[in-house]
Subunit: 226 residues, 2 copies
Amino acid sequence: MNRVLLVEDDLGLAGNILDYFELEDMVCDHAANGIAATHFQQANQYDVIVLDINLPRMDGLSVCEHIRNEGDDTPVIMLTARDQLEDKLAGFNKGADDYLVKPFAMAELVARVGALANRRSSNVNQLRFANLTLTIKPQVAEVEGRPIKLSPITYELLKCLVRAQGNSVPREKLVEAAWGEDAPESNALKVHMHHLRKALTQAKASAHILSRPGAGFYLTTETTDG
Amino acid sequence: MNRVLLVEDDLGLAGNILDYFELEDMVCDHAANGIAATHFQQANQYDVIVLDINLPRMDGLSVCEHIRNEGDDTPVIMLTARDQLEDKLAGFNKGADDYLVKPFAMAELVARVGALANRRSSNVNQLRFANLTLTIKPQVAEVEGRPIKLSPITYELLKCLVRAQGNSVPREKLVEAAWGEDAPESNALKVHMHHLRKALTQAKASAHILSRPGAGFYLTTETTDG
DNA sequence: TTATGTTCTTAACCCTGCCTTAACCCCCGC
DNA sequence: GCGGGGGTTAAGGCAGGGTTAAGAACATAA
């Protein structure tokens, strides 16, 4: 869910935008002039500010400049009918992050707001299996939110296994994933596999690693003890 | 100085852009097809990727999707002649941060690249993290209003870390921030890092610096006591 | 000019954690 | 009993990061 501040004096347009944002699960405050905008910005923290340039009491460029001088670096999208190059450059110059010319499609505004908002909430690619979660960047593994300490190589192995989602992965593939071309020529894989298993049980992961003799390893949630 | 990857198969246009970027003090690599782009992206770290959609071998949307799956969240600007709404939405959907329709003014491209790189935070005069505050002009660092004595280099390092807001900053980026092109060839960074840490704890800052082995340093407020 | 202090660089050293290696163990089929 | 596929454990080496101290470079003030 994103928190947005909309600064727009055209109440009709503002209403449209507010309705549209609501459908997209965004929480939105609305200011109809520049002074009000600075008050909102000082009182709250937003993910994005959508800022019209032609405003009563204090124009959008000044608002943007003002909040930047305050030390606030919330992403700002300028919204205006002026499409001349120098207008746009002026906007970026005052510290805007994007500049959208009216008229625009609502879907595009939403897409741009999303792009600016998501950049800071570092939502990156995640892999899942059972109750474990791998984050690619930064390289972190978690089980139910609690981080597991993994070395680079064991992390690589686990990533490979999780990608296979329970299908068995041949030894060569694991070796390739962990070392690339030049693999060590001893039982290093066995050792790292052992470390990985220990780490998983220690972290109380509901997944564990089994081996299909002669064919490789796979993840499972079955308990299979007995 | 910003590092940019330009992916564009029209060599004439690419040349123009490269010339223009050079004037703006940007260091630019150029890939003429999608596969080459992914190789560049894996081998280097960029501040922004400028990505044409119509490319030989692998189209821009796929390139963008691919680098996002790699866990790389470098800002991407899509560059294309297609101006239909659904084209734009497709771009944002694949993880693009901006979408610019050809033909465009060079100055606008540069402005947008700057906005995505680090222009936003360089427009700001105050940076904050936990209870510490950096003022850019004049160069002052404070914790809860009390100034911390920092040398120019340690100040630069801290600024870089605070800008990242807890995300990890690779060593090269810190070196670049502190020294620019000609870095000293010893363990100077380690030493300055040490001074910085000492200064922070001495000033009772609630933030401290941790290292992610092999990947760089980051700020945190965690107490990490056992 | 000398004296003083700050900052930056270099080098040596320590410490920790990771990776590899090499044993050894267990189980099973022959 | 023996051999092979796995599993387990411990020892050693190496690299990355952290620490400390000494000297060079630089600026400022007397």
